[in-house]
Symmetry: C2
Subunit: 468 residues, 2 copies
């Protein structure tokens, strides 16, 4: 399994020449993020010398859809079906002894100083400080004992405190329950996990589904987990680093601003606080950072959302072929959907189903099945030649949207849907796309003459001196 652990995945990326090694000394502030962003969509980066830290930093472990597909040992067309399958069929993980868990090779329970130990970068210009961006936050429901896994921005607020943004989802619910009882919510933050577990953490699931069980299902075998030292939480046994702690009740401290996925800043305000109670890590640990709004960040959110969206649309339009949350739409706001239209009007129903799937979805484009929705030039072509705004446009005023979309009024905004499908009753030739017979099967490399000396002498202008 390529992505069995964070390290085996890095080895795989290296073996396929997609790991850039940076031995030059780099700074935590901006330089790590700058270099990773330059290689976004191409290579993972492994920084061996970050300031005076002994711990290397890695960023961009998967920055393309293809790389995520490889991590799941499938191809791009298999990515969403495989994810849906795993979400529908979670597999229990396996608790291992501490002696078998690499993350227990080192245990630190006192004199904790996050910035002394860990090379935590500052990513963007207006960020309030150092942020952990690739930490899986794991909490447990005390009633069901099921865990919940999610990724949060984590600001280093002091030697042993993190500011945290908790959006109103499952973790928020568990924290509120604890806080109302005057108790902290125990948590663990796993840094440096394999890309499968990272992707699984972003699954859109009903409350009570443990994302680590989805990770197990995606792996096809139980993920190995181990119990924490200071909290009642199970964490991936092969994580590079685990921070243990508690989200404190009735404590709020300033957090932000922080550059977020929509490429704008989330604002500064008083937010919840994690008190760190312990750190465990592998020997020679590697620190993983995700550059916010980079492709690693966007796709981690986008692929699981596509799986959820596909299922929502399928309930309304069973002939849905494919869905795509595009990078230009921050993998959240724009959905492109292809369907095999069987009844007139279905494309508009697909638009409505998409809006119902997630309040984050703002604009939807529906096209016919033969359009490659991952090729945005083709999608644009469908908008240009198969859409008429007077009959094919849906606009819905004043709906719930994303609070991080600055064009909304604190999250209240307008939805827009474009039906770019061909009318079922149109003449066959009218919308017939031009094709070159034989094009798809032609291998151009069989034609190009590498040995050729190029233009023949009689075609060189300089051999026709009289003429110029």
């Amino acid at each position: 399994m390529r992505a069995k652990t964070f390290r085996t995945w890095l080895e795989y990326m290296q073996s396929t020449e997609r790991l850039a090694v940076i031995d030059k000394r780099v700074k935590l502030k901006y330089e790590v993020a700058s270099i990773a962003k330059k290689l976004d969509g191409k290579k993972a980066v492994y920084f061996t010398q970050v300031e005076d830290y002994s711990i290397p930093v890695v960023s961009g472990i998967c920055t393309t859809r293809q790389q995520f597909a490889e991590a799941l040992e499938t191809d791009q067309s298999g990515l969403i079906p495989k994810f849906i399958q795993a979400v529908s069929n979670p597999l229990p993980y396996r608790l291992v002894d501490k002696k078998d868990a690499p993350v227990k090779e080192n245990v630190i329970l006192k004199n904790i100083d996050l910035m002394e130990i860990l090379p935590i970068p500052i990513h963007h210009e207006k960020d309030s400080g150092h942020y952990i961006t690739a930490g899986l936050l794991i909490v447990r429901d005390p009633l069901t004992r099921k865990q919940n896994v999610s990724i949060h921005r984590l600001q280093v607020s002091s030697k042993d405190r993190l500011g945290i943004l908790i959006l109103p989802r499952h973790t928020f619910h568990l924290y509120r329950q604890a806080e109302e009882a005057g108790k902290p919510l125990e948590c663990a933050i796993a840094i440096g996990v394999d890309p499968i577990t990272l992707l699984a953490s972003q699954a859109s699931t009903p409350f009570g589904i443990d994302e680590l069980e989805i990770a197990s299902a995606l792996r096809g075998e139980p993920l190995e987990v181990v119990r924490c030292e200071t909290v009642d939480i199970d964490v991936p046994a092969h994580a590079e680093i685990v921070l243990e702690g508690k989200i404190l009740p009735r404590v709020r401290e300033p957090e932000g601003p922080f550059g977020e996925f929509p490429k704008y800043y989330g604002s500064r305000s008083d937010k919840e606080v994690v008190q760190i109670t312990g750190i465990t890590h592998r020997n020679h640990p590697i620190f993983h950072t995700i550059v916010p709004a980079g492709y690693e960040h966007l796709l981690l959110g986008g692929i699981p959302r596509e799986a959820s969206l596909f299922q929502s649309v399928k309930q309304t339009v069973p002939s849905v072929k494919s869905v795509h949350m595009s990078l230009g739409g921050t993998c959240r706001y724009h959905a492109i959907i292809s369907i095999k239209k069987r009844n007139e009007g279905e494309a508009k129903n697909a638009i409505l189903a998409a809006f119902a799937n997630s309040f984050d979805i703002k604009h939807v484009v529906v096209v016919d099945e033969e359009i490659d929705i991952f090729n945005m030039e083709e999608v644009e072509w469908a908008i240009a030649t198969r859409f008429q705004a007077d009959r094919d446009l849906i606009v819905i005023h004043g709906a719930q949207g994303s609070k991080l979309d600055p064009s909304t009024n604190n999250g209240v905004g307008c939805k827009m849907g474009l039906d770019c499908t061909v009318p079922l009753d149109s003449e066959p030739m009218k919308y017939l796309r031009i094709e070159i017979p034989g094009y798809n099967d032609l291998d151009v490399d069989e034609y190009i003459n590498q040995e050729s000396t190029g233009l023949k002498p009689e075609h060189l202008e300089k051999n026709n001196a009289a003429s110029i």
Copy 2:
């Protein structure tokens, strides 16, 4: 001058490793077009052995904006300003003696058989037959003696007759005048001209401006032309091949279907006919074919349209920064415009100016000046995060559009404009784009360690055998 002639340009493309040489024998039907399309956006193609023809075929002489910029000896940002400058300041061309004109090296005035002499391809599945697609059609206004230059699809209808589509523009006007007087309209068709002259032929100009004078202005020196043998027309002296002929009055013959720029077929109907009266060509001539709807075709139309659009928008919004007719919009239907907004509402005026510029323009997106409008992912991001359909959308029903857009009702369709500019009164932080200080100046190649042995031994999972 790189693009002094068709041949010097091919030499330049070869010298920059962007000329693919295909020595393998290829067929006129589909195979030439397939291979050229595979290399679209990358390389020009030079086919040395097309069936039994002695004449080679070239396609894709410029298939990127960058390549056109190089032909004009400028960079991408200089392309539109240089074109506008030339359109505003045409330069007379220079008539040379026939003995100094390479295109006169061979003169054929009898027994004309187009398909016997010229390797004219069949491009798309439903095309009615062999089509000349890269011919500059040159006609003369008998009153002013000014010439007009344009590109038309030209179907080989017989040994010496071409079916022609003449859209209602300048050539159409001159032909109608002649036809009403019962006379043919003399014409010449120049094949294998340099990319500057090709681009100039697509300029949006008032009636009476000779596009060859724009070509001269773009070159910075007079284009050399020579008088035809059988008609009173001047043609580029360095053209590879010139067909001379007459568009016959009151003759219509079946033409089409033919795969057109919107990637659909133009339909079959009775159309005008060119009777060929002579052929002249260089020694060892090269035949140029443009694959319809390929980037060469689209950009040839798009760049001159951008120049015209820029000037139209500038009259309404003087702070317009840049305009882009995108490939996904077939370089005709979609305009993206960036402005430095100084007054609220200006973006909508820019949209209206764009619609006024050309009836082909169907959808317009206006963004702030800092958006790179040639990066469609950025444009999409502006739509995702700076646009609200209830306040920022313009829809105009029942306007004149392109007849080749199949979603229109015979050319009558709906316009749509999106204002994606930030409100002038918004709080500065709200729309502040995240930036990494130092990112733009960082050269990542200075960091990547090519000598590195990769992951350090202590980070390889296999060196932690106990752990896995």
